[in-house]
């Protein structure tokens, strides 16, 4: 622990030197003209929450993941010049849109990466399409990005609300949790997650008794928990994320919700959230993730490298998605030999099979959805954990073919109806 703190201190010293929009440049070793770039450089913009409730699960970690992707791809050796910039969207769609426009119009950014917060992501999705650049989403959840809002310029890498509902929702209904009450973050993500989970619950023979919507970033959940308690449902579904979900889980323990016979289903819980709640309160929680550091040698090696650069903090699935997605993007740019036509690069990303150490083999579908396995985990008991970040037991692997919404059910206009 002390060692970690020391590392964190060293890191923070470095971080402070960077302004919010720090610019990191990876120079090309030899400037051979194999790949023709617009203005000779591939410019990556990492846009996410760097100061609010989603800063730990995306934030600076996503910038580190992007740097690692550029290094591991060997951009310099391949004669490609890559530059990474980053900014804070403060979870506000207007701020995010302004940054995106500035980046694409003035700063010649070629690809916008990450963008947690579905509200911001949907706004950026439209702007990137209009400017014909690339939007590689890892952080946002709404399944609309590959549904009715799908775009030929967007790839949705890591997870989405449909996959979460399908993982956690189905598992919970099948083990007897057939009546649900939802506590929902009142914005695009929470609403999409509630919608997709309700559909799963109903399709598996369960019932939804009600829901309550709370504003984003709410400190006190006791009122909502009490409403959930009086609904008499077997399951309280938490359709929120970040500190909203950790506060809700912590306060549910305080109000004796679980002792009262109701169970919590955290529909989007990241490893950073489990770390913040502590195993004592989080044990037994079932959750769906696309990535966990302790899966195989590839994920372990990468995660340890990441943690060394991130003040000892381990990666979330969002960080992993930024890394793997960018690797795939760089491969596509190399194949197309240009980064100027966003739609063309994304079309190439859909052609090439995906392959990396973190997500294994997969594909990017016609609607922009990246297909890979998803995993159902159960949070360990404190006694079973060997130390910080040793938190999950694998309960089930959801094979790629079943993990995401079938292509014909998303109403994506890019998908031809057969």
């Amino acid at each position: 622990m002390q060692h970690e703190i020391k590392e964190a201190k060293e890191m923070s010293g470095k971080l402070m030197l960077r302004a919010v929009a720090a610019v990191l440049v990876c120079w090309a070793g030899s400037a051979s003209a194999q790949v023709q770039m617009s203005d000779d450089v591939i410019k990556i913009g990492v846009l996410n929450d760097r100061s609010g409730l989603y800063a730990d699960l995306s934030g600076q970690g996503s910038v580190i993941a992007a740097q690692m992707a550029v290094e591991d791809f060997g951009a310099a050796a391949k004669g490609m010049k890559v530059e990474i910039i980053s900014a804070d969207h403060q979870n506000k769609p207007d701020v995010g849109s302004n940054v995106a426009r500035q980046w694409l119009d003035v700063d010649k950014v070629d690809i916008i990466v990450d963008v947690p917060n579905s509200g911001v992501a949907l706004a950026v999705n439209d702007i990137v399409r209009e400017k014909n650049k690339v939007f590689l989403n890892s952080g946002a959840g709404t399944s609309d990005l590959t549904g009715k809002a799908c775009s030929p310029n967007t790839v949705h890498w890591t997870y989405d609300t449909w996959a979460l509902a399908n993982g956690t929702g189905k598992a919970v209904v099948k083990t007897g949790g057939d009546t649900w009450f939802f506590i929902v973050a009142d914005y695009a993500f929470g609403q999409a997650l509630e919608r997709d989970t309700s559909a799963v619950v109903l399709a598996n023979g369960g019932k939804v008794l009600g829901s309550v919507r709370h504003p984003l970033n709410t400190p006190d959940f006791s009122s909502y928990l009490l409403q959930a308690q009086s609904s008499g449902s077997k399951i309280i579904g938490l359709a929120n994320a970040g500190s909203d979900v950790t506060n809700a889980i912590k306060q549910a323990a305080e109000f004796g919700i679980v002792q009262g016979g109701q169970n919590l289903a955290g529909l989007l819980v990241f490893i950073t959230d489990v770390h913040a709640i502590g195993l004592q309160a989080a044990q037994g929680l079932i959750l769906t993730e696309a990535f966990y550091w302790d899966m195989n040698d590839g994920t372990r090696t990468w995660s340890k490298r990441f943690a060394e650069r991130n003040g000892g903090k381990y990666p979330t699935m969002i960080h992993a998605g930024v890394y793997a997605g960018l690797l795939h993007y760089l491969k596509a740019v190399q194949a197309v030999k240009s980064d100027s036509d966003g739609a063309k690069v994304v079309a190439e990303m859909k052609q090439l099979p995906t392959q990396d150490a973190l997500f294994g083999n997969g594909e990017v579908r016609a609607d922009g959805r990246t297909i890979h396995d998803m995993f159902l985990f159960e949070v360990k008991k404190p006694a079973d954990s060997k130390g910080p970040y040793d938190y999950y037991n694998l309960r089930a692997t959801i094979p790629a073919a079943e993990a995401f919404r079938p292509l014909d059910q998303g109403n994506c206009p890019l998908v031809k109806k057969g």
Binding site: L53, P219, D220, S223, E254, G256, A276
Partner: protein, 295 residues
């Protein structure tokens, strides 16, 4: 059984109770602000950051020294109070003669710096802090399950608020304080060390924020952003109550907690706006606030 607006009375009692609990935090924080503004004329925007520091000191004590909740309850307000006194001596002292805006900008800047440093060091998802064993569990009141810890929070907060009010409004020390703000030169002429009195007052107001921070630690995460989330609402409470009115800030704190709690039942989407709607209405009707004196 009767129903009020479609909600069974039991559920309603439960929500009123929860509102009082949240109101307890508003009351303690706005009390500190009111004391500082009323006696020092400083709009203390650093209050939220110091509330957060109170919670973090409790976490440090547990993490590095193994000292639990009860120790923290004593040490943390003292430590943060001392820091506050140092801030007052080093920085705030220099701007008493200037417009309110300077104090506001100075403390706002301090708040951003403190918060930024903590966030860089500890991230944004927070640190766990458990409810002390003696206060775990709860009681079934018939209409709701009341966790023991929340009852404790309301008790402590009410006691602290009333004692503070009593000391300032009804004791000799309080009368010195009030006199010192009205006419410092005259009070000094009676042999009272006014600058020290002011430092102590600021330290005390800030210590109240730290105390609220420790009370909050087991309920919320110990999170660098916990103060920033709360401080805006607390300022609205102070404005509604009447800037500087001590009793006003206590009553408004609890009252608005209840209003917010009820909004969470009837129209939850508006629960974080309702305080500001009330503020607008109050300012239109009574510009000096509910309990403030028009100057």
């Amino acid at each position: 059984m009767f129903e009020l607006l479609g909600i069974p009375p039991q559920a309603l009692f439960g929500q009123v109770m929860l509102g009082l609990i949240n109101g307890a935090f508003y009351a303690m924080l706005s009390l500190g602000l009111a004391v500082i503004f009323g006696l020092l004329n400083i709009i203390n925007f650093a209050h939220g950051a110091l509330y957060m520091m109170g919670a973090f000191v409790a976490w440090f004590l547990l993490q590095y020294l193994g000292l639990g909740y009860w120790w923290a309850l004593v040490i943390s307000p003292l430590a943060v109070g001392l820091l506050g006194a140092a801030l007052e001596r080093l920085l705030l002292k220099r701007i008493y003669g200037l417009d309110h805006l300077y104090g506001l900008l100075l403390t706002f800047g301090l708040a951003l710096i403190i918060q930024g440093l903590f966030q860089n060091e500890f991230g944004s998802s927070g640190q766990p802090y458990a409810v002390p064993p003696a206060l775990q569990g709860g009681h079934n009141l018939g209409f709701m399950f009341l966790p023991t810890y929340r009852a404790w929070v309301v008790g402590v907060s009410l006691t602290v608020c009333l004692v503070t009010w009593f000391v300032i409004e009804r004791t000799k020390l309080g009368s010195y304080l009030r006199a010192a703000t009205e006419n410092p030169a005259l009070v000094q002429a009676f042999g009272i060390n006014v600058p020290r009195l002011i430092t102590i007052t600021y330290g005390f107001g800030v210590g109240l924020a730290a105390l609220a921070g420790i009370l909050a630690a087991p309920i919320y995460q110990v999170n660098p952003l916990m103060g920033a989330d709360l401080i805006i609402v607390v300022f609205a409470v102070v404005v509604i109550g009447g800037m500087g009115s001590i009793l006003g800030s206590i009553l408004t704190g609890f009252g608005l907690g209840v209003m917010e709690g009820l909004t969470k039942v009837f129209y939850p989407e508006a629960s974080n706006t309702v305080v500001f709607i009330i503020m607008v209405i109050v300012l239109l009707i009574r510009p000096a606030g509910l309990f403030g004196r028009a100057s």
